[in-house]
Structures are given as C-alpha cells and as structure tokens.
Symmetry: D2
Subunit: 147 residues, 4 copies
C-alpha cells in the first residue's frame, strides 16, 4: 500500500510499525514495543522485558506502562485514520495501576470507544504475560487532526 | 538525621535526593530530575532538558511529563511521611496535556491535597520554563504503606 | 441469609436491593435504579427513564450517568464483600462521556478489576438501551472499610 | 447586552445566571446553585445545603458534588466564550473525593487551564463552607462548539 493511498484506509500492523520506526524511533528507547495486531476491533502491542523498564524488586515501572498504553492507543488511532492519524495528540490519560507486574513482557490491548470529528477515546488494558493477569487499565483521550 | 528518627519527620530536599539516588538511580535514565524544594506546602522538582526526553519537532514527550509528575508526587509523600513513604505506590494518575512544551526544562509543583491513613492524593502542575506557561496538570493517588 | 453470615458471602441482587432501599432510599430520587444482576463477573444496574434525569433536547443528564455509574460500582462491591461493603466510599471517579444518550433507560455493566485490602477498582460501561450503543465509560476507585 | 454582541464577550455572573435559569431550570433540582463570581481568573459557584443533596450521616452526596463541579466549569466556559458556550459538552471528568463534607453549603472555585479551538480544560476545587476545607477536586474536559 502506498503512503498516498493510506490516508483514508485502515493500516495494518506491519505498515504502522514501519511508519513509526521512521518517524519515532525513540519510542523504543526503554524497551522494544512490538505491534502485534491492528484491526478495527482490537489493537495489541507488546512491550518486551528490558532492564531499562524494570524497577528494583523486579517490577515493570509505572512510566513504562504509561508509555505502552499511550503508544498503543496512538497505534490504534493511526490504524483507524490512516497516516493522517500521526498528528493526533494525547490530551488526557487516566491510568489505574492494579497489581505490581513482575519483570517480563507486558501486553496491551486497546479498544477504540469513540472516534469522533475532534476526539478519540480508547481504553487500554495491560496484562503481565508472566502472571497472566491485568496489571493496569487506562482510558486515553486524543485530539485528532482536522480531516 | 538518623534513619530511625526520620520515620515521623518531614525530610528535606537534599536528604530525599540522597535517599532516592541510592535506591532508585534509574529515575534519571531519561533526564535528570532535580529536587529543588520540599516543604509541607510545596514540592518542586525540575526535569532537565535532555535528548532522551525530546520528541521530533522539539517538544518534551508525554511519558517524560508523566514520569516527572509521578516522581514529584512520590517525593512530596516521602517529604511528608519520612523514609517509610518510600513504599508508597501509585494507584491512579490522571494527567491532562494542555500545551506542547517546547524543548527545555520542565518544572513540576506538587501540592498534597490529602494524606490519609491509606491514601494520599496530590496535584501536580507542570510548567515549561522556557515559555513560562502550564503544559500539563495531573492528579495522583498513592496507596500508603501501613504505619 | 442472616446478616451475620453475609459478611463473607457474596450477596445477590434482591438482597442488595432490599438492603439499600432501607438504608439509602434517596438513591432513587432522580430515577429508579434497578439492580438486575450481581455475580462475581458482572453487576448490571438499569436507570429507568424519568423526567428528572432528562435534559432539554431529550438526552439523559451527565450527573444522572455519574450517579448510575457510582451506584452500580457500589452495588458490585457490596455483592463481593457482603454487607460490610456498605461503608465503602468513592475516592475517585473518572468518567468519559462518549455520545449523547437519547431519552430512555440506561444500562450500566460493572466489572471489578481489583478488590484489595484497602481499595477496589472497577470499570463501568453505560449503554443507551434505545440506541444500543455505549454512551459513557467510567473507572471508579473505592476505599474499603477495614475488615 | 444583546445576544448578538455576547458571542465574543465575556459574560458576567448575573447574565449567565439569567441565561441558564431560562434554558436549564432543572440544574437546581437537587439544591440551588448560586453563581457568585465569573471573571477570567476565577468562577465561583455555591451549592446551597438542601435535604435532597444530603446523605444519611449528614454528608453532601458525591453526585451532588459532581453536579456542582460540572455545572461550575460550564459556567466558566460560558463566561469566557459568551452565549455560544452554551453548546459545550463535557467529555471527561476526573473527580477525587478528599473528605466527607458535612451538611452545609459547598463552594466550587473553577480555573480554566486551557481554552483551545476544540477543547477546554478546567480544574474545580470544592470546599465545605462549614469546615473550611477542601472536600473534592476535579479536572473537566469540555468539547467546544465550532466558532
């Protein structure tokens, strides 16, 4: 798919990964984020375990979970809007930390609750792959670029 | 001040900085956090400009602002509770991004709204030092260790 | 079931309804709240359409939706903790309004995300029965009574 | 002031009160809301003590505080935008309950943090007049009508 065509098309995981690796390579500074799936119903991103996102005591840090949630919602929006979504910006994030995640990969599942003209709202659920339980929950609001 | 005494005493900025540098050196991984002031009324922490927290386009990243807000509230709680506060954990953070902060230092001012038996609630206001305007606003809830 | 037994037992919808009608009759002041289901997985409460919760233009008011979300989470906690849960208090509510709900019943589905020693966290999803779509989403934190 | 003029003018407390009494008389259904001050820096609204907003045990109800915060931010936006602000809608509210307010008047102070093209963000601080202490804190996001 050419970039020109993609503006009004839903992008798939591989295309979004390539796009963001070019434009935002620094997203992976504290642990690689793998875009595993992008469909209209679900976006799934995995944060790989990495010394830089582990805290003493062996838990994944809060900021690393915030970053994963924020990035995953961003990916979901780009998947929905196409490349124009790259100019979307977070306006609000509410994140609840539910359990200390042991060191290991964290999986984030995003569901878009609303994509309006001005705003998108999405929920993100973070699961510890090792423990198989929910460790954090977030609701994010993004301001969308004019289309 | 001995560690035994500090449990029920308000700690000052220099003491907290030393304590956290020993226990959480990785907090400075994406830019140095300077604890400038810790009083019962106000805690002030400055995030130094750093390539690792700047996004393309020259703005400070959202995760860097989240990290600053979360850390600053944590410092305020330790300032209030003494060293036992080090076991406090974030349970919820609600952060609103109000303006894109241009590259440069970010100052975070924290006010403790409530320090109860189980929970502490605080607000954090983030200002871009260069532009002199508020760039983000957060309310954080921490679960406190049993005392 | 006697009240003594109920402390460590999950209460069902009818028992909770009776309990709350005695203790908090005013919850129904702006529209009757029907407790339809209380299981460990799901709590479902329906707010009946009522002139007192309709705004001009024919939409259900924001405060009515907040009240429904808050009450439904409270019911879920009592369902889980038994009658002692009646002393739980809301410490934080984050609610996103996603669509204007047309006049009519609103259904609230609650899922408890975490019930710890001090805190419970739950999500509430509000659906307009007429339109069959999600109109609001909330995450609530409750402080739990000592057990 | 004619309605035509008011669109680009800051409205004062009395004008807004008259406007809303005509359009939204039901806001006062659970206790009278008095608009005491509307300036660019501060909006102040007082909720009068009223049996309908008091809970058993003699505290002001959470939904009454949510309603006060939401209404006060709405007043601040109308004060800033003029009559066109009447079409602003709440998209997100995050409210922390800090202390049980004893029965009595509640004062809400609103500060607009950002009024952009699409969104306004404001903080609201609720004080119990009787106890003279902060009882709740909220941050609200409103979607603004096209201007």
């Amino acid at each position: 798919m050419s970039i020109q065509d993609s503006v009004t098309t839903t992008l798939d995981a591989a295309t979004i990964e390539k796009l963001l690796d070019t434009r935002f390579p620094q997203i992976h500074a504290n642990g690689r984020h793998f875009i595993e799936e992008v469909t209209p119903e679900l976006t799934r991103v995995r944060l790989a375990a990495d010394d830089r996102n582990i805290r003493p005591g062996g838990t994944v840090s809060g900021p690393a979970m915030f970053t994963l949630a924020d990035f995953s919602v961003y990916v979901a929006i780009i998947g929905q809007l196409g490349e124009s979504g790259i100019d979307a910006v977070t306006t609000n994030m509410n994140i609840s930390f539910l359990a200390k995640p042991e060191a290991g990969d964290i999986l984030c599942r995003v569901r878009l609750l609303r994509v309006g003209r001005k705003l998108a709202v999405a929920e993100a659920e973070l699961t510890s792959c090792a423990a198989g339980k929910i460790v954090a929950r977030a609701v994010a609001t993004y301001a969308l670029p004019a289309r």
